[in-house]
């Protein structure tokens, strides 16, 4: 079983639209939406929810006002500025609490309780291209890296049980913890970029991350015609890092309109054959990729930040 992750650095470069199109070319395939903050893949590939589980992101502290002696030790000890003095009691700001339990440890009055933090749900959808695992992190929650790891675990189990040969991961923007969780042990990372200074700058950081994790990568330049000169600069950057550009896609007003009406990029005439070409290159790249254990240990495989 092979896994391809789509990431970008900069947001809005077209990861989800591309994964939605490649899903049709790869079907039947297992899909995992790893952008748990803003999970949009199911908008392109809707289907019936066939499995759902709650996701717990550690614990949250709560102070029992009946027991609180207002000594303030908890607030002093909290490194996250999560405990407020309300006069007659102290209270935990659930948005700032990281569930470290230090407040409970220092409290001499047994006033702090830790509750499991139900941060969202993970679910599996039967989409027309295959099983799609996704999650909904409740807004303002933390631990999205851990949630990505859970999404990937379910996707892998689904692939193994159903004998699927390929898993496609729709990744989050950025280069932080949820992206690390998306990249852990994938066979190929595809960076989707656009020809702008931001796109180039964020591509550079994403490529450095791939290098750090010793992962093979490929680049797709989306909306390439918006700036041919910047497209060339982006291409040169990728090539200088030893990463191949597998294709360029033009910007077309038809894309956002089509997506708004529930169509895929494959329905857009000027994109169809380009997408097919790119998909052929990506499948060739992932098939020729020898599976080697990365020498950099990825602790988020087991934990997640």
């Amino acid at each position: 079983m092979k896994t391809i992750a789509f990431i970008s650095g900069k947001g809005g470069t077209g990861k989800t639209s591309l994964v939605g199109a490649f899903a049709h070319l790869a079907a039947p395939v297992v899909l995992a939406d790893c952008d748990v903050d803003a999970a949009n893949l199911a908008l392109l590939l809707p289907g019936k929810v066939v499995y759902e589980e709650p996701f717990f992101a550690g614990e949250l502290a709560a102070i029992n006002p009946d027991r609180c002696a207002c000594c303030g030790l908890c607030a002093q000890a909290c490194r996250f500025d999560a405990i407020r003095d309300l006069g007659t009691t102290f209270a935990v700001d659930p948005l700032a609490c990281e569930g470290c339990r230090v407040c409970a440890h220092v409290c001499e009055f047994d006033a702090v309780e830790l509750m499991p933090n139900e941060a969202g749900v993970v679910q599996r959808i039967e989409s027309k291209c295959g099983p799609l695992v996704r999650a909904e992190l409740r807004p303002a929650q933390s631990n999205s890296g851990k949630m990505v790891t859970r999404v990937r675990t379910l996707a892998r189990e689904q692939a193994e049980a159903g004998g699927y040969g390929l898993v496609l991961l729709d990744g989050p923007p950025g280069i932080g913890c949820p992206v690390h969780a998306t990249l852990a042990n994938v066979d190929l990372a595809v960076v989707v970029t656009e020809p702008t200074p931001s796109g180039r700058h964020d591509l550079e950081r994403a490529l450095t991350l791939l290098d750090r994790f010793e992962l093979p990568g490929r680049v797709i330049v989306n909306k390439a015609d918006l700036s041919p000169s910047m497209t060339n600069r982006v291409t040169q950057l990728a090539v200088s890092r030893g990463i191949g550009v597998v294709g360029r896609l033009p910007f077309t007003e038809a894309a956002p309109w089509g997506l708004a009406q529930g169509r895929t990029l494959l329905d857009v005439e000027v994109l169809r054959h380009r997408l097919t070409d790119i998909w052929e290159r990506l499948t060739a790249a992932v098939e020729n990729q020898p599976r080697s254990a990365p020498s950099v240990p990825l602790v988020r495989d087991v934990a997640g930040c």
Partner: protein, 284 residues
Amino acid sequence: MRIAIASGKGGTGKTLVATNLAWMLARDGVETVYVDCDVEAPNGQLFLHPDHLVSERVSQPLAALSTPTCSGCGECQRFCAFNAILALGDKVLVFPELCHACGGCMRVCPEGVLKEIPRETGTVIMGRARQVTFLAGRLDVGEPRAAPVIEAVLAAAPRTGVVVVDAPPGTSCSAVAAVRGADHVVLVTEPTPFGLHDLELAVEMCRSVGARLSAVINRSDLGDAPVRSYLLRENIPIVAEIPFDRTLSTAYAAGELAARQSVPLRRELGRLAEALMAQHAEAA
């Protein structure tokens, strides 16, 4: 007054709005600070072109053994809520990427042999972009936790004038860190199904931090998702609508402030600036 420019979905135009808004406010004589809190993908510098740059490294405390060996009791490992510590015989192994720097392990160590050492995870950059005071946080590539760098850059920002915060996408910890403490959040969205879905989540996130909300619709003529009716229903004023314009894209691609060239953009962001300044005056 602190204004955060946020979105939910990535690539909706937060940096476009934040950099051009900061430039326009400063041009109108308002004391303006721009703070780039998208520390994973910090791009404001590419458009504001600040000079007189100075930088400061951001570090977080990390647990470490202060003596070569310990008794191996494992209290620290049992206490750590983040699975960041492995007690192996007389050694303690700390995974820096998992450590949240809560200090709990030091508190529970019966021998007091754990200490904290600073570990650098990012940089805060400060400079001037003409009249705009410029600050940006940059997370080191390979570091997972953005929120401490966001908190560091916000702590370094002046408290006076209008502070424009360029927030990261998403609705979880780093987005919360950037919008927390903002008096007003401007949500930049686009009228596509993705834009609407992520806008709904962003609204919920912002309401949980208790900021006033308004919205800017970017590429307002592309797509047809019911973003306007949603905003109307939620009582969130649409203060600007930016139509798609290839000349904007060209200016953006050239690393220029698009409002310098585009009259429509200047007009729309002018409406945003006016609305914000009216609120500022009202609050004062």
